[in-house]
Subunit: 342 residues, 2 copies
């Protein structure tokens, strides 16, 4: 089932125009928090994908044990090795606070791991982001974190969760979703029980769901204004993305997705702040639009890279195709700017 | 002499289908243990070759002195710097145990070196892998390790040894193979004396041999079931691989081989576990099939890279050709998936 036309049109509205009117940063400043002893590729994939989709600046916030490797993958990333295991918590919190204030979105989880100090820093960052009403993407071991305490994210309508099969099963159980709920309705049920966060359930087709009809789905707490009629914001919506993807299931593709959703949320924030556009789209719609858009371009880039690499596909092959994948889904004009085609 | 048609057909059966039915990991999770003060390229070549042949995930387990360099070679590898010289042995053993439980195969030796602590950790890992009935590839200084104590590998029929000329000579001597044995029969004799491990003797043509007619070739100890008639498993088989290779003998090509054999063993493990296929191939056949398949694709990738680079060939040139080398030997359809050709 193709993504509804009106959703595509809404996504196109939050894409920053390429006509010379914006200055550096107004196409999105993205932050990725993750990367410690074991994982360095995951935060790189997320941060680089955000840039390659079209964000202006991409920051990685990581442990010193991961920083040199991540820095070496690309000079285009800004890597902050502030998550020191033995640093005073207050000092790191202050540094995080300052960093997050400069960003439009925080992607939390790629390469985070489960070491205690990293999980603690992730929690600090999540709470800071929430207090600033920042857009959030939660993936990988950030989903593990909220699994331990669902209140960390409950009711926060600027969050997008991107669980894979295993993570989704765990999250459903933690949220108390009955096993009798039909498979295609589970994502919406998780969203409802978490107070309206957007759930992007990855699979052969991606299901993106929001359900704000439950308790605790608070627009006010999420810092969402510009809603004409709050009652009309009681929504239940499930969008299926079955755009063709590749057939290889190598590790790291989920990190690309978290980065592309992050970039689109950063665009959404710039849109919300009035950098461009007509503000006709409510901030409450931005998470689901970004989730759908990120899913579409990630699947298409996987398809394109797979057509070239086949079984030998690795995740770094996908990143150069993100721009073309964007053009395929949303039009070459939007990708190449007003002056010409690629 | 071409590889027998029935062997090719058996190898094709253990290749994971590319039709969307498998999830992440079911095309193989490979581990490479090696990398310390001197060597960082070798474990990278092995781990990256496994990915580029088609494994889903590739882990490197190494010393902290090697980790940053290996991480920086590719964001697609997961690098665990747990082999600390001064760490408590029990702690490292526990970490190794946990890591190995997540893998389908362990490639032991690329860049291992001969420092005491690395040799000790390799021994710990080998024993753990054996206790878990994991598939094993032993190369380079892991062959040095078992040369000191052949009982480490004797009778373990899930192991493939990949000695070069020097390593093979040493191994033959340690195993007490008489110098009067004809050259083409030596590999089988080493296999027999080591209780049926598969020996891949590298050379102008590769000889892959198994001989389980000696003592100590125990299926039970190797955790091999699904054998209808254990007596029929008393086999002696030698397969010659003279697929055209390149003419440059630069260092590192053996690491590519250990990675490709490892990837095929990981596929074999997924096959054995029922992720795909009909289980018509006994687990006892998987090591020899993986060894033959790895030899074929490695030689072909060397040929292809050599045609481009000639005398200037270095090992990293081979890795991008692994997918094409696979397609050349086993068919483009199998490499590109059901939806199309590369």
């Amino acid at each position: 089932m193709p993504v509804p036309r009106n959703i595509i049109e809404q996504i196109k509205q939050i894409v920053p125009p390429l006509n010379g009117t914006l200055h550096k940063g107004q196409s999105g400043r993205v932050g990725v928090l993750g990367g410690a002893m074991d994982y360095t590729g995951a935060p790189f994939f997320a941060a680089m994908s955000a840039l390659r989709l079209g964000a202006d600046l991409s920051h990685v916030i990581c442990a010193p044990t991961a920083a040199q490797a991540i820095k070496s993958y690309s000079p285009d990333l800004i890597v902050h090795p502030i998550l020191k295991e033995d640093a005073p918590q207050d000092k790191v919190k202050k540094e995080l606070d300052s960093l997050l204030s400069r960003l439009h979105v925080l992607v939390l989880g790629p390469g985070l791991g489960r070491e205690d100090y990293m999980q603690n820093y992730a929690k600090v960052a999540l709470n800071l982001a929430r207090s600033k009403a920042m857009f959030l993407v939660l993936d990988a071991d950030a989903l593990w974190l909220i699994g331990q305490d669902l209140s960390l994210v409950k009711g926060y309508r600027r969050a997008v969760l991107t669980p894979n099969v295993v993570e989704f099963k765990r999250l459903s159980e933690k949220a108390g979703v009955d096993t009798s709920v039909p498979p295609d309705e589970k994502a919406a049920e998780v969203s409802k029980r978490l107070g309206g966060v957007v759930v992007l359930q990855k699979g052969p087709k991606d299901l993106i769901a929001i359900d704000t009809t439950g308790e605790a789905a608070s627009l006010a707490e999420s810092g969402i204004r510009h809603v004409l009629d709050e009652e009309s914001e009681k929504v239940k919506e499930v969008i299926e993305v079955d755009v063709e993807g590749g057939l290889k299931r190598c590790g790291g593709q989920g990190d690309v997705l978290s980065g592309t959703v992050g970039a689109m949320l950063a665009w959404g924030k710039c849109y919300e702040d009035g950098a461009f556009g007509d503000k006709s789209i409510s901030a409450s719609r931005l998470p689901i639009l970004a989730a759908v858009g990120g899913s579409m371009v990630t699947r298409t880039s996987s398809k394109r890279a797979f057509h070239v690499e086949g079984r030998g596909l690795v995740t770094q092959d996908m990143i150069p195709y993100l721009a073309k994948a964007f053009a395929e889904n949303f039009g070459e004009d939007l990708q190449a700017g007003e002056r010409g085609r690629l």
